[in-house]
């Protein structure tokens, strides 16, 4: 499917055919499996060192599941996750613990991802304590350093999360994620729960940290405007599959999947003159249930371009055009006509 770049030192993360199925049980005592929720249904992508991959999708797309599978909060049903050469999907025990140090995560809800009973100093120190990062004093110093790095005053160290605003809490979460110097940070909707004027602050901070610490990001969001600002490459997910993967500017200029096109046209732009000129593609119908995924192309039930073949045959996720632009559509060359994206 994808060019194998395992040997190259540049690729930090390579995911191949990742699947995550949740079984559904029925029965009182002996529980039978009656079906599966196909949260991730065969996903492949790679991220180069120092790059940011944006993962975009709506609810039910599986993007949060991908994040959780990468940090092994869930164990993948199938597939490979090559991180710096080692397959995370099958690691266990100590080996997994060691890998865990290099991958950290920032969660979406700053009000829920910090334990309300811990001081923020304990929260930030926790990964260092668990992985025995240094002496008590060294850890203490590093906590203060981290607070400074994320733009919070060191005097805040012994306060509790509820005393902070959403934006500040997210900064604390970022400080915690950086504590043991990871190489790869997964940011799961880091600004979605924040006020508009605070989002820019946190986004700028994430950018600055990426430069400062040579981080590689997987940036997950449903907000295409934010992702456009932040990512180098973007993957669009729908119902557990990646439907399109391309360099940022190319995705926005020449989308090759009807879902991407519809998504782009649906995003409101804060400019009345531009809004007036736009034509919206309104998708029909509702998102199918992930228990009952449509045959063939997952998107065909709502696709304005769907044909007979789309119902029967699942399109392959393959490079179109110049080789770095992937899409899963039988008619990908017809997607971008003369309408403005």
């Amino acid at each position: 499917m994808m060019a194998d770049t395992l040997v190259e030192k540049q690729t930090l993360l390579q995911v191949e055919n990742l699947k995550l199925y949740f079984p559904l049980y029925r029965g009182l005592i002996l529980q039978r499996v009656t079906g599966h929720v196909r949260a991730i249904d065969g996903v492949s992508f790679s991220i180069e060192r120092g790059q940011t991959l944006g993962l975009v999708g709506e609810s039910g797309s599986g993007k949060t599941s991908v994040a959780r599978a990468l940090v092994r909060l869930y164990k993948p049903t199938e597939g490979r996750i090559y991180f710096d050469g080692k397959d995370l999907a099958t690691l266990e025990g100590e080996a997994l613990r060691n890998m865990r140090q290099r991958i950290q995560m920032i969660f979406q809800d700053p009000y829920a991802s910090l334990n309300p009973r811990f001081t923020i100093a304990s929260l930030i120190a926790e990964p260092m304590v668990i992985y025995r990062y240094g002496s008590k004093q060294e850890i203490q110093d590093r906590v203060l350093e981290l607070l400074r790095v994320v733009g919070l005053r060191p005097e805040y160290a012994d306060r509790y999360p509820h005393e902070f605003s959403g934006g500040q809490r997210q900064r604390i979460a970022i400080a915690r994620a950086l504590a043991i110097q990871p190489e790869f940070v997964i940011a799961d909707e880091p600004v979605s729960a924040l006020d508009v004027s605070v989002r820019a602050q946190v986004l700028n901070l994430l950018r600055q940290l990426q430069r400062q610490f040579s981080l590689t990001y997987l940036f997950i969001s449903h907000d295409l405007s934010v992702v456009r600002h932040f990512a180098d490459r973007i993957a669009v997910m729908y119902l557990g599959k990646i439907v399109e993967l391309a360099d940022r500017d190319e995705l926005y200029a020449v989308p090759r999947h009807p879902y991407t096109k519809a998504l782009l046209s649906a995003v409101p732009i804060p400019d009345p003159k531009v809004e007036k000129r736009r034509s919206r593609i309104i998708l029909s119908g509702d998102l199918p249930s992930p228990i009952n995924i449509p045959s063939g192309c997952h998107f065909h039930t709502r696709c304005p371009m769907a044909q007979e073949i789309c119902r029967k045959e699942e399109p392959r996720f393959e490079p179109k055009g110049n080789g770095t632009h992937y899409a899963a559509c039988h008619f990908s060359d017809k997607v971008s006509g003369t309408e403005d994206a």
């Binding site: 940090v71 829920a112 334990n115 926790e126 919070l152 306060r159 509790y160 915690r176 043991i180």
Partner: protein
């Protein structure tokens, strides 16, 4: 309105005094403080708590202060004495000082109530935590065991066990009562753990490398403590009643240690001639349990998450 002209420039410029990352507001009250304040505002709960404190003092320190230290000394010169200065609660049919008996009996009842509560809570929390956190088979097994304990008729089993296996000492009674007290706590803690283990801060802790034990006891348990404390308080009241019933029927703490329950059974023969023998321990039991319940309710309200931090 015309825009204000800025010819007189430097004069009206504002220094950037106001800081951009402001110091946090004065340190707000800690969680514990908030809860305490809220509890104290609840009048009935505070009354209950005060009563319990006074009762404690009365039972454990009172006798030494007032000199009524001898509950078992019969005084055949003053049978059924009415309340007087020498015998503030009067005396029973063989002249034993009722105040002393009530106080020492209280010691036993309170001790048993508290100690059995502690054992029950510890046991129940451990079981509930494991069941709720690990789920699946382990949860199933533990909960079915809990169901068995709940289905058994408490008093009957206690009577049998007490008669066959114990020697009537205070410690054995404590153990006995704890056998049944843990089930509610287990259920409660299991429910809390089931809910809390899916919280984002638990997931976040997992991604920074925390293992099961740490997650259970450093992360989840402190957040589940509210309902546990409430349950514990109510359990004290329940256990006191349980102990009293046991003692009433003679299966509890054996003579010579008085207990409120045995005081009642001792005095019930004279209920027509000398009702205070039954009345006094009965009232004490009633007030104590009532206070425990009031305190428990007050704590439940004080812990209400809608009123604490965001």
């Amino acid at each position: 309105m015309m825009d204000t002209p800025i010819e007189k420039e430097r004069e009206d410029e504002l220094e950037a005094l106001l800081e951009v990352t402001p110091a946090l507001a004065q340190k707000r009250r800690s969680q514990a403080r908030i809860i305490l304040d809220r509890f104290l505002r609840n009048r009935t709960a505070t009354i209950g708590a005060s009563f319990l404190i006074l009762l404690f003092l009365f039972c454990f320190i009172g006798p030494f202060l007032t000199g009524h230290t001898n509950p078992n000394q019969p005084n055949l010169l003053a049978p059924d004495a009415a309340p007087s200065l020498a015998y503030p609660f009067g005396a029973d049919d063989v002249g034993r000082d009722l105040l002393a008996r009530a106080a020492v009996g209280g010691q036993v009842s309170l001790l048993v109530g508290l100690a059995s509560m502690l054992v029950a809570i510890l046991l129940g929390t451990a079981i509930g935590a494991i069941a709720g956190y690990y789920g699946k088979l382990l949860d199933n097994i533990l909960m079915r065991i809990t169901d068995v304990f709940l289905a058994v008729p408490t008093y009957l089993l206690l009577f049998v066990l007490s008669a066959s296996f114990t020697n009537g000492s205070v410690y054995s009674i404590i153990v006995l009562i704890s056998i049944f007290g843990w089930t509610t706590a287990a259920r409660l803690v299991r429910g809390e753990f089931l809910a809390l283990k899916e919280r984002e801060y638990v997931m976040a802790a997992r991604t920074v490398g925390a293992k099961d034990f740490r997650l259970m006891f450093r992360h989840i348990l402190p957040n589940a403590i509210g309902p546990i404390i409430v349950n514990a308080t109510l359990l004290v009241g329940q256990n006191i009643i349980l102990e009293s019933v046991l003692s009433y029927f003679g299966f509890g703490v054996q003579a010579p240690f008085p207990s409120w329950g045995s005081l009642i059974s001792d005095g019930q023969g004279q209920i027509n001639t000398d009702p205070k023998l039954v009345f006094i321990p009965g009232i004490l039991i009633f007030l104590t349990v009532l206070s425990c319940n009031l305190v428990g309710d007050g704590l439940r309200d004080a812990f209400d998450p809608h009123m604490t931090e965001r």
